[in-house]
């Protein structure tokens, strides 16, 4: 017998409560502790600090985590491989290269748009390249897909390094680029956060619409086709969405690994493998996780910040290994 799985309602309720606590903690913690009574109370400097500076940052962390988790879930669904995630498949490296071009060569595109657009083009191009290599001969080769992703990620990372060497100097804020590569959530303006919200909802809705197709894809291409899904269109749609989510996450959070791998995994154990409930649950859980990670990143060594990408790897890696061992014991 398999352990009883939770349905979406109670799971979302648990995640919502955790999210509220995480948001509260994150708004209070930072270089200086501001108690909830102050940021909820009378207007003042501390209240302004929290709502103008911390709140957009917390929201941005949530968006980055939600996008990374969604991208991981979609890639795992399309590639039918639990190891697939934006990092491993070269998608994040593609976004990273695109973003590095935008940062190093601001004359190419208007600066406000260049970062997300170039990140998206990089993520999308890399995903398609991996997909094309994985499908050579007409049939999916899961191992070949992953190897292609790993190789492409290495090539794109090397290209990014080369660009930094050739074009990077103090005048092109090299330090900021290196810090961005290590992963760290940006502090956006309130208006930017409000503009980002509908995009996130749109992404989630589109992914949720693809969920039955991704479920069917788990039974094989022919079975999915026999259930009425146009497999090439389904794959193209899911890769496009995943690349978009990766690009948005990379634009606002730099290169942050592990979130896209861990969150869908843990939720699959918790809720089961059907994508319908997994899409909203992954987005909320990924967002909440990233809010917590970002809180630790900016408050544990304040006023300095620990790169969030380092934290997710240092904490997420062992946590994931422990979970794997625990599940092995139970089974």
């Amino acid at each position: 017998m398999t352990p009883a799985r939770w349905s979406l309602g109670p799971a979302l309720a648990v995640l919502a409560v955790t999210g509220v606590l995480a948001f509260g903690l994150s708004l209070s913690l930072g270089a200086a502790w501001v108690s909830p009574a102050r940021w909820l109370g009378e207007p003042g400097l501390e209240r302004e600090l929290v709502w103008v500076w911390r709140a957009p940052r917390v929201a941005a962390a949530f968006f980055v985590g939600a996008c990374l988790s969604l991208a991981g879930l979609l890639f795992q669904g399309v590639f039918r491989n639990p190891l697939a995630e934006p990092y491993l498949l070269g998608s994040a490296a593609g976004a990273g290269l695109g973003a590095a071009i935008a940062l190093l060569l601001p004359q190419l595109l208007p600066p406000a748009w260049s970062l997300p657009v170039m990140a998206f083009l990089g993520a999308w191009g890399a995903s398609w390249l991996v997909l094309a290599v994985g499908r050579i001969g007409g049939a999916w080769q899961s191992a070949r897909l992953l190897l292609a992703g790993v190789a492409l990620a290495a090539i794109l990372s090397a290209l990014r390094g080369l660009l930094l060497m050739v074009f990077g100097d103090e005048s092109t804020n090299l330090r900021a680029i290196v810090s961005w590569q290590l992963g760290g959530v940006q502090t956006p303006a309130v208006a930017e956060v409000l503009g980002f919200g509908p995009w996130l909802l749109l992404l989630g809705w589109a992914a949720w619409r693809l969920a039955p197709g991704l479920d069917a894809l788990g039974l094989g291409d022919a079975a999915a086709q026999s259930l009425g899904h146009r497999v090439p269109r389904l794959v193209a749609g899911a890769v496009l969405l995943a690349a978009l989510a990766t690009a948005l996450a990379v634009s606002w959070g730099g290169l942050i690994g592990f979130v896209g791998l861990i969150v869908p995994h843990v939720l699959r154990w918790w809720l089961g493998p059907l994508h319908g409930p997994l899409v909203p649950a992954c987005m909320v859980a990924g967002g909440v996780l990233m809010v917590l990670v970002d809180t630790v990143a900016r408050s544990s060594m304040a006023p300095s910040e620990i790169p969030a990408g380092l934290l997710t790897a240092v904490i997420g890696g062992p946590f994931f290994l422990a979970l794997l061992l625990w599940r092995q014991d139970r089974s």
Partner: protein
């Protein structure tokens, strides 16, 4: 047992002069064949005969070099995928789920919720909470066919579903498909000629991408046709009141 009178006259699936080529190799050559609206229709023949290509072509997954496939009189490419899915169910050769689905979750992927009667007929009630990938071959086949039959498609295509089952489970599965074939057309790819002779209402013998013969098994599975299909002399051993076993007449080693 066979009951040719169960057959309806109007064809459900019709292959007209179908040719499938990959490079210079012909996987199907000038194949013209009709499948009636109900009954168990067996496809037999040696490896590489084109049986699985036939199934893929019937699903619309195989590009045709020539000819056409019609479902209910309409060309396959004129069907919308959703409409076609309502008419045609498919059980693949290797039944496997990439994800750790329970049987209940697998059945949620069906185009209609499975009825209590269906769960009873396929003996799945006690398996609903089990993981699909940990079931025995027979249980997996039952669950996979139940998922496909939940919305009662007009045609079920099953590509060697009995291949990995032991003898009792092979017969149990064929009886189950025979029951499905009272309401739908069931096309099943088989290697076991005994099963084909015993359970199928009609049989098509294929070899090297061509249709050699088709019709009721008693009339079609004769020594000459089988020897031609398998390019080897075969001997049929009759089983009283049932069908026959077929064994190759191997040369005695020197």
């Amino acid at each position: 047992m066979n009951s040719a009178d169960r057959f309806c006259s109007e064809p459900l699936l019709a292959f007209g002069g179908v040719e499938v080529r990959i490079g210079t190799k012909a996987l199907l050559s000038d194949l013209t064949l009709t499948v009636p609206r109900c009954g168990l229709f067996g496809l037999v023949g040696p490896n590489g005969a084109g049986k699985s290509t036939f199934v893929r072509a019937a699903l619309g997954l195989q590009a045709l070099s020539r000819g056409e496939v019609r479902l209910c009189g309409r060309r396959l490419q004129d069907w919308r995928p959703r409409e076609q899915a309502r008419q045609v169910g498919y059980v693949p050769q290797h039944i496997h789920s990439h994800w750790d689905l329970t049987v209940r979750e697998l059945l949620q992927l069906a185009l209609a919720p499975p009825s209590a009667e269906l769960l009873h007929d396929f003996e799945l009630e006690h398996l609903l909470a089990r993981r699909f990938n940990t079931l025995s071959g027979g249980e997996q086949a039952r669950a996979a066919i139940a998922r496909t039959m939940a919305h009662q498609p007009a045609l079920l295509l099953a590509d060697e579903p009995a291949a990995h089952l032991d003898l009792p489970h092979q017969h149990a599965l064929l009886r189950l498909l025979q029951a499905c074939a009272t309401r739908s057309a069931v096309v099943i790819v088989l290697h076991d000629l005994h099963l084909a002779a015993r359970y199928c209402d009609q049989v098509a013998v294929m070899a090297q991408g061509r249709l050699l013969r088709h019709g009721p098994p008693d009339a079609v599975l004769d020594d000459t046709t089988l020897a031609r299909a398998y390019e080897e002399p075969l001997m049929r051993i009759p089983i009283p009141a049932q069908s026959f076993f077929t064994v190759p007449l191997l040369e005695t080693p020197p």
